[in-house]
Symmetry: C2
C-alpha cells in the first residue's frame, strides 16, 4: 500500500482530494496548516474529517505566515471582500491571495513526505475557479515537482520519485462536488467560508461561499453545510 | 536602494552572505529560522549580527520541522557524528541533512520577500564543502527560482523578477573566510558547531567545526570564535 501526504484544510476541495487519494488505494498521511486564519473552525473540520477517513497520521502544523501580512486571509487590516460581481470573480489576483502560500505548504508537505516516507503528495488546487491565484496553475505545480526531486535525498537516490497529484485542477466546482458525492463525501463536515460566524456557520456571501453554492446548485442539490443566511 | 531578504542562521556562511549583500548595496531584511535546533546559541548569534549590520528588519521565524524528525540536527534519537575521516566527509548524504530544509526555508523567504516587497533573496549555500546535501546544488537553486517566479503575484505581474543569490556556492571555506575578512566580518560573533557547549562554545571536532577550522587554517589565521578544546 503506497503512502501519500494529503493537504487537508477542512474545506470542500481538500476533502474531495482526500477521498480521491483513498479511493486510489493510498494510505493517507494528512497535513493541516494552522497559518493565522481568522478562524479555527476549519482546523476542527480537518480533524473530524481525518478521523472519519481513519488516516494513518494527521499533523496540524503551525506556520505563522501572518507575521509577514499581505493578505485578507491572514492580516486583520485587509477586509475580506463580499458580494463581488461575477465579472470581478476570476479577474486579477484577489486580496485573499496569501503570498507564496502553496509554495510554503508544498515544501512542508515535501519535508513530511520525505520523513514518512511517501513519494506522493495530493493537493486540491483548482485552476478554473481560482484562476487569479498564480500558485494554483499547472505550470507552478510542475515546477515545484521538478524542484522537489532536485531538493531531496529521496529525489537524488531514487531518481525523481516525487509526484504532486492535483486531481481537481481542471474541474469546475460542480464537477468536484459530483466526484465527491460519487465517493460518498459528507460535505456537511466541510467548511469553505472565508468569514464564518462564531458557531462556524458559513456567511453565504463571500467569494468562496458563492463558488461553493453555485457548485451545489449546478448539481441541483442543497449544500448540507450550515449557513447563517 | 534595492531590498533583499537574507537568510541568516548566525553561522559563518550566512554572515558572510549578509556582508556581501550589504556590500552590493542591498537594504537587508534578515530572516532566521527557529527550527528545532538542539541549541539556541545560533539564534542569539543571528540577533547580534543583525544588530551589528543595522538591518532594516529581522524576523525570527518558528518552523517546527522537528515534528517530522528524520535528521540528527532536529531529532534527539540520531547522534551527531564526530570526527569522521576526510574520506567520509563529502561522500553520500550526511545524517545532519534535514529533509527538504532549503526548500522550506526558501519558500518562507519568498513569502517574506513578496510582502516586503523584495525581489532578491540571498542564501549562503555551498556546493563544495556540503556536496552531500542535494538542496545546496546550483540545479536545485535554479529550479526553485523558476518555481518562485511562477508561484507569486509579483512573479506573474512583473514577469519573473525573483532572483536567488548564492554568492558562496562555488567557494571553498577558505575562500569564503577570505572574502568575509576583506569585508570586515567579525567571525567571533558567528557560531558554526553542530553541538556547542552550554556556554555556546564550539566543540572543535564535529564536521562543521572541522570544515571551519580548516578554512581558517588555509588563511593562516586563528579562528576568533570560542572553542571548548
Amino acid at each position: 500500500m503506497k503512502n501519500a501526504v494529503v493537504l487537508l484544510s477542512g474545506g470542500l476541495d481538500s476533502t474531495t482530494t482526500l477521498a480521491i487519494a483513498t479511493d486510489q488505494g493510498y494510505r493517507v498521511h494528512a497535513l493541516t496548516f494552522q497559518y493565522g486564519q481568522r478562524h479555527e473552525h476549519e482546523i476542527e473540520a480537518a480533524k473530524t474529517i481525518a478521523e472519519r477517513y481513519q488516516v494513518a497520521q494527521h499533523h496540524v502544523f503551525p506556520i505563522h505566515l501572518e507575521l509577514f501580512g499581505g493578505s485578507a486571509l491572514t492580516a486583520n487590516d485587509i477586509e475580506v471582500p463580499k458580494q463581488r460581481s461575477d465579472e470581478e470573480i476570476g479577474t486579477g489576483i484577489p486580496v485573499t491571495y496569501v503570498p507564496a502560500r502553496n509554495t510554503v505548504f508544498l515544501s512542508i508537505a515535501l519535508a513530511m513526505a520525505e520523513t514518512t516516507p511517501a513519494h506522493n503528495i495530493f493537493i486540491g488546487v483548482n485552476a478554473l475557479d481560482y484562476s487569479g491565484y498564480p500558485d494554483c496553475r499547472p505550470e507552478f505545480i510542475k515546477a515545484f515537482e521538478t524542484t522537489a526531486n532536485l531538493a531531496t535525498k529521496a529525489g537524488v537516490e531514487h531518481q525523481g520519485p516525487f509526484r504532486i497529484h492535483t486531481p481537481l485542477i481542471d474541474l469546475t466546482k460542480g464537477e468536484i462536488i459530483r466526484r465527491g458525492l460519487d465517493l460518498g463525501v459528507d460535505y456537511a463536515l466541510t467548511i469553505t467560508c472565508y468569514a464564518p460566524s462564531e458557531e462556524g456557520h458559513a456567511c453565504g456571501t463571500c467569494d468562496a461561499c458563492n463558488l461553493r453554492l453555485k457548485g451545489f446548485s449546478d448539481n441541483k442539490i442543497v449544500d448540507p453545510a450550515p449557513y447563517t443566511t
